[in-house]
Amino acid sequence: MISLKLIRLFILKNIRNEKFLTVLSIVGVALGIGLFIGVKVASDRALASFESDIRGLSQNTDYEVLDISGIDFNEHIYRDILDIEGNSYPILRVNGYLSAIQESISINGIDTVKAARLVQPAGRKAYDIEDFYKNLSSILITKGLSDKYSIKKGDIIECLVYDKKYSLKIAGILDSKTLPADAVIMDIGNFQEYFNRTGYLSRIDLTADEKTSREIRRILPPNLSIERKEELLKNRESVVTSFRYNLQFISLIAILVGIFLLYNTVFISVVKRRTEIGVLRGLGAGQKTVVTLFLVQGLIVGFVGSMLGIAVGQIAAYFSVLAVERTISTMYSTISISEYLITKGDALSALALGLLVSLIASAIPSYEASKIRPNESLKEGTFESKYKSCRKPFVFAGLSLILSGVVVSCLDYRYAPFDFPFLAYMGILFIILGFTLISPFYLSVILRIARKPAGRIFKATGRITFGDMKGNIYRFSVALMSVAISSALIIALLTLIFSFRHSLASWINRNIAADVYIKPASCTSNFCFYPLSDEVISLVKSFPEVAGVDKFRTLHLELFGRKVVAGFGDIAVQREFTRAGRNGERNRGLEYGKQVSISNYLSTKYGLKKGDVIALQTPEGKEKFTINDTFSSYSTTSGFIYMDRKWLREYWGLDDATQLAVYLKEGVDTGRFIQGLKQALSGKYALEIMNNNNLRKKVITIFNKTFSITYAIELISILVSLIGVLNTLLALVIERKREISIIRYLGGSWDQIKQMLVLSAGIVGIAGIVLGTVMGFLISVIFIQVINKISFGWEIHFKIPFLYLSIVVLVLFLTTLSAGLLPAKVARKIDPMRFISFE
């Protein structure tokens, strides 16, 4: 074992000398680990909230009876089920929106007598039983909600439910650890009466075994099914997976950069301290001791970085939770995540990850260090000369890696073997690694080309700089790669975002064509599943300004065992009133045969093409539909099937609508029409009525909000990689303190030294940006064509934002140059005496 004192003398004291490098790598590790853990916490909490949503009300039930289309069903089946299994609990639920505090709640009507243990009061006088049963509008809320918004017993709150506004009276506060914070409890009888849902149930929870469940399945009508809770949970989880993996991959990039920073720092220590290590070996320090010492250096940085990372992670978790909540709520269904605190377990795994990462990062330099011979002196071959012979194999290996990266991504594009684009992400890593291997060769070519002109322009400084760079090709390639990677990331992400916006805009143009859109105000998602009252529809139709109404209905549907969204529109109305419909650009011929359009996500995922036939489960049994077309849908990322309303009537027996698209007659003032409509509906209904323009704006805002976390994470990754650039350039100076001292002794002025440093930073910058552009372009193609397609199925047309990119590239270049100036400052502090007298 090596003594602590040895660690203190050889490592800790040295860390103090390399404060800046060390701090940079600590920050790098902290950001990487923080992001990773933040995203993990957010998605874990989302899953937990799904779980408590599915299990929450009745913890130990294991089956649930529900409608296959996700709508409420007739309650009479409950009697029959009760005959088979007594442990069954009817539930009627709906999402409500508290507009005053902008919070969604889920209102659950339950049989409070049967599920009495669920409604444990928080403290003695926590609620008023009488009031709860007698008053129709009475609800019980969780302590979580009550504390968060200081809502007290006896308060009356306004709540948007279905397409109306209701007052709810707080009859009490529940103390339940198992209930999700956003759950609100009502007596089921009151619920049915108050919200006018008499005779309906949303689901029946059951505590039953296999056999009983089979028995129940036998008596269920075709529109109902009995499902294991576990299965439902799994289904829901898949919703979060791709979102989670994508965020986690980006934070993985930050971790990679962190590894790189740490690697660099330890490596610099080793290179700089070659002679010292030799002396130590000479004094009788074994190889193991040397390895341990440098691993410990890495671990110390990793430990401090991880601890800081846990703090960063807490902040990241808070914002990721908000973002995940928002994304899932708009894209899938409303959830509310109230927990965002990092648990002890999360903190431990962050620490473990950080330590692992630092072990990985310091392994290679530590090994290098242990190979230093006891009588190592400056005349021994240095790192550079040792690897000179490797350049050709490096180029070869690099090219093969890039090629296999491309091939692997193409494979993913063609066959998409997994739910998540693992292959494409692997391809990106391969490409980055491949370019890294090529970079020394690439830099040497650049140096050869630029040597003469630089000599002419910069005279002696130029010649010295080029000689210096040629002698330290590997060190400079590392700096070059950090520039290249950060510019590649920036270019790829900017291109992705730009292309996405562009495609989204043209999608909006094509699809948001009606003049006015109406949906229940309680619905905060892209799709609403609670129908509008008939009165609303007939009232809208009765306005003389209205030319046509496209009644749109969404349902849940099962396709290959997964829940997807089905949308039913009025194709005839679209054909009559929209240009796209008239020209047959959209849903052409959909109203004729038994046809459907499916979103690209589904066609990618299940390999479905135009002309294929799919069987859909309807209340009338399985029905076959031919795929008429595939389309790109930005409103959901889990699959979308579109068909004509007449099938809704025929197979689902429904003729209602969850959203309305209204076409006005020529020359009608939309603003005035909306005004009139609002007046006619006011007091009775709570609806969100928007004109075409507002809806377009809202859609774009939603997307921006949804992606804000992704942008933030990307921004941080880019920041970390810029730190990497700074770190390597700085490392170069520290490493060459001796050379700089000698140049000083030979009469070099500070200005000359500064010039040299900035010149080498400039060369590294330009060469890095050029390489990064090539790499970034490749990566953006993979992002857009493969990763996006597999994870979201969004159709994005490749579009390069030349203007933005040139600005960004310029900024990046200036950053690199100034990164050359900062080390120049450090160089100035070098005391030539001290460094020369030591070798």
Partner: protein, 214 residues
């Protein structure tokens, strides 16, 4: 105590040591003189277990260290050898005290009193907390001498110990080495290209082109 039998060393194609035979006894003080490039350092490195010969054997207390594995060599250096170099080779980021203590630490010992005592013996009392760059060359070499002796090795190997000092300081350092070596009964092998230093030695050996001339 140490016996070199027909030791050869090559660096690539250059045959640096060509059949060295040498006996070193306890308490011996041997000087090996020769011009630059004659193989003095190479020889010293072999004896010190920094490197292995390509042929021949080096017997230390009856064991052939040329067949030692890396770990055994490390242990050998750590316990039995004290090195003094031309360029001092102190660790720059730690104090005088800590530099002297280093061999003890590597042997998992601390013995701070002993460290203070040796610093006093080389005449650096009061400089314990200084850093190497705050010392003159002579003072730095004193630290190195203390470091070479602190763990009580059997052999002191000195490679041009005064090569980078002025002659007055050089003599002082040489006197110090001789005095301390005698007091502690160490064997010393001194390598130098300056013939006048052989006065310090009990035995003088010349080396030329990798061959010893007794």
């Amino acid at each position: 105590m140490i016996k070199l039998i027909d030791v050869h060393k090559y660096y690539g194609d250059t045959h640096v040591l060509k059949g060295i035979n040498l006996d070193v006894e306890k308490g011996d003080f041997i000087s090996i003189t020769g011009s630059s490039g004659s193989g003095k350092s190479t020889l010293l490195n072999l004896i010190g277990g920094m490197d292995r010969p390509d042929r021949g054997s080096i017997l230390v207390a009856g064991e052939d260290i040329s067949s030692y594995k890396d770990e055994q060599l490390t242990l050998y250096r750590r316990e039995r050898i004290g090195f003094i170099f031309q360029f001092f080779n102190l660790l720059p980021n730690i104090t005088v005290f800590e530099n002297v203590q280093m061999p003890l630490l590597l042997n998992s010992l601390e013995e701070e009193d002993r460290v203070s005592e040796y610093i006093k013996r080389v005449g650096l009392a009061g400089k314990e907390a200084s850093y190497p760059y705050q010392l003159s060359g002579g003072e730095q070499q004193r630290v190195a001498v203390a470091r070479a002796l602190i763990h009580d090795p059997e052999i002191i190997l000195a490679d041009e110990p005064i090569g980078s000092l002025d002659s007055r300081t050089g003599i002082i350092i040489m006197d110090l080495i001789k005095q301390l070596a005698e007091e502690t009964h160490k064997a010393v092998i001194l390598v130098t290209h300056e013939h006048y230093l052989s006065n310090y030695a009990k035995r003088e050996i010349k080396i030329k082109d990798g061959v010893l001339l007794q």
